[in-house]
């Protein structure tokens, strides 16, 4: 799964997207060029095992202009923005902000998403916010499991949580949900709901 040793075939410089780095910097408000690959981020990240590229390796892809590789990496979706990396980064790079920027470009360009299940989960959360102004966890989980065709996964857990009233059957709603749903008009998420 890991691809941290770079591809053995030479990188074709002519096919690199030199504007990519600037695009990511502008969108994130950060400077990817500051990363000197000390790997501190990878050392501290609790999720590296589930990532194809370590966080700094994604930055290397961006630095080199390997647009497709960066946008199609699983890392950008596995990252939960816990900031464990950014408080340890000696260059004080807001690493999750760069991951956010890469996620936004990936969604906008419709590239092949390495972790479609995580995107589906985010879509369900946003769908819930659009509808109720708040998140309705039971509905999010049920819709997500149906979309993933994982009909029975976590069902026992769901029942346990229901029995302890940890999950509410009805949503906690805001009084004026239209105020919030309006925000979704024209947004990247609008077409999906």
């Amino acid at each position: 799964m890991e691809k941290n040793s770079f591809q053995s075939s030479p990188i074709d410089i002519a096919s690199c997207d030199r504007s990519f780095r600037r695009e990511v910097n502008e969108l994130s408000g950060e400077n990817v060029g500051l990363c000197w690959h000390c790997r501190t981020c990878a050392g501290g990240c609790p999720y590296v095992k589930a990532m194809d590229y370590h966080p700094h390796a994604v930055f290397r892809l961006v630095q080199l202009g390997l647009r497709k590789e960066a946008l199609e990496s699983s890392t950008i979706w596995i990252c939960v923005s816990c900031n464990t990396c950014s408080i340890q980064c000696p260059a004080a790079i807001d690493i999750p902000a760069i991951m956010d920027a890469l996620r936004h470009i990936a969604v906008e360009e419709g590239v092949k998403i390495a972790q479609p299940e995580i995107v589906k989960f985010h879509e369900e959360v946003l769908g819930s916010i659009k509808k109720y102004g708040r998140t309705h966890k039971l509905e999010i989980m049920m819709r997500y499991k149906v979309r993933m065709r994982q009909w029975f996964q976590d069902m026992d857990l769901g029942f346990k949580m229901l029995a302890r009233r940890k999950l509410d059957l009805t949503p906690s709603k805001i009084d004026r949900p239209e105020e919030v749903s309006r925000l979704f008009a024209g947004s990247a998420e609008d077409e999906k709901h």
Partner: protein, 291 residues
């Protein structure tokens, strides 16, 4: 720390309150515990009228504009001159990041003010409950203490709360606060290696296969440290540590507000503990903290 939050001479303090989706639903018990604690400490919480979700992990992951406009509505609902209390560390970051943007960028702020038809106070103080707590004198806590947590061995769990984006690094930090308060309540706070290990957040729902080994590692760490319970700062951490632990040995996990309310002798605590998926009652009974 702003003088505003010093509690030394103030008998009662009004605070706007943003519960967030977890405390309003899955973690109702933490919310009830917090209400009890605040009443004891003379903090008057006034819930933001019609508050909405801060956008959570999903908004900033998928859509930059939602990541700011969702918190913006909440900020516009907060009356100026009264600090806004947030209980969820994640909501706190989202609200602080948005507020920082709007106080530094008047144009962006004006856009949101027009959208919501309400002003956003650029001087609004957005504080976590811990910040209020750190401003309260020790003697006041001692006066509220009715049921010392004598002999209760705890490990403090901050999750990702202490790790913040670099742009928020000048905000108040809470290193050591759980330990300090636990000790002052009579509990024993043990050192361990996982106090700041992320709980898995939304991967607990979207990719349980990733969250389970992480949580198991954290729980094993607590067992190894000799802890009888884990005390969390965040309701989502609390839930994740309970639902994603598959190892034989489980450790009850209590939200910070619950343990505080318990020590302050709050009524009705039994109903909160019944909602836990890892039952803390046997432990609390053995320690004679609950009858």
């Amino acid at each position: 720390m702003p003088a505003l939050l010093k509690m030394k001479s103030i008998e009662k303090m009004d605070l706007s309150y943003f519960p967030g989706c977890s405390l309003a639903t899955t973690a109702k018990e933490s919310n009830q515990a917090l209400m009890n604690v605040c009443e004891k400490l003379g903090l008057n919480l006034i819930e933001l009228e019609d508050w909405n979700c801060c956008g959570s992990s999903s908004a900033h992951s998928m859509d930059q504009s939602l990541a700011y406009s969702l918190p913006a509505r909440n900020l516009s609902l907060a009356p100026s001159g009264r600090p806004l209390l947030v209980m969820c560390p994640s909501c706190l970051h989202r609200l602080q990041l948005a507020h920082k943007k709007f106080s530094e960028n008047p144009e962006a702020r004006a856009g949101e003010e027009t959208r919501w038809g309400r002003p956003i106070d650029p001087g609004l103080k957005i504080v976590h409950f811990f910040e209020v707590l750190s401003g309260i004198e020790q003697s006041r806590l001692e006066a509220a203490l009715e049921r010392p947590l004598k002999g209760l061995k705890c490990v403090p769990y901050y999750g990702c709360m202490l790790a913040r984006p670099p742009s928020l690094r000048r905000e108040k930090n809470y290193h050591g606060l759980i330990e300090k308060i636990l000790s002052s309540l009579g509990a024993e706070s043990l050192p361990w290696s996982f106090s700041s290990r992320c709980c898995g957040t939304f991967l607990s729902a979207a990719r349980p296969d990733i969250a389970v080994p992480l949580v198991n590692e954290i729980i094993a760490g607590a067992v190894k440290a000799g802890a009888e319970c884990i005390v969390t700062a965040c309701a989502m951490c609390q839930l994740n540590l309970e639902i994603r632990c598959t190892s034989e040995e489980k450790v009850p996990t209590l939200h910070f507000s619950e343990i505080l309310a318990l020590a302050f002798g709050a009524k009705g605590s039994r109903t909160w503990f019944k909602r836990h998926l890892v039952d803390p009652m046997p432990l609390l009974k053995a320690k004679k903290l609950i009858s």
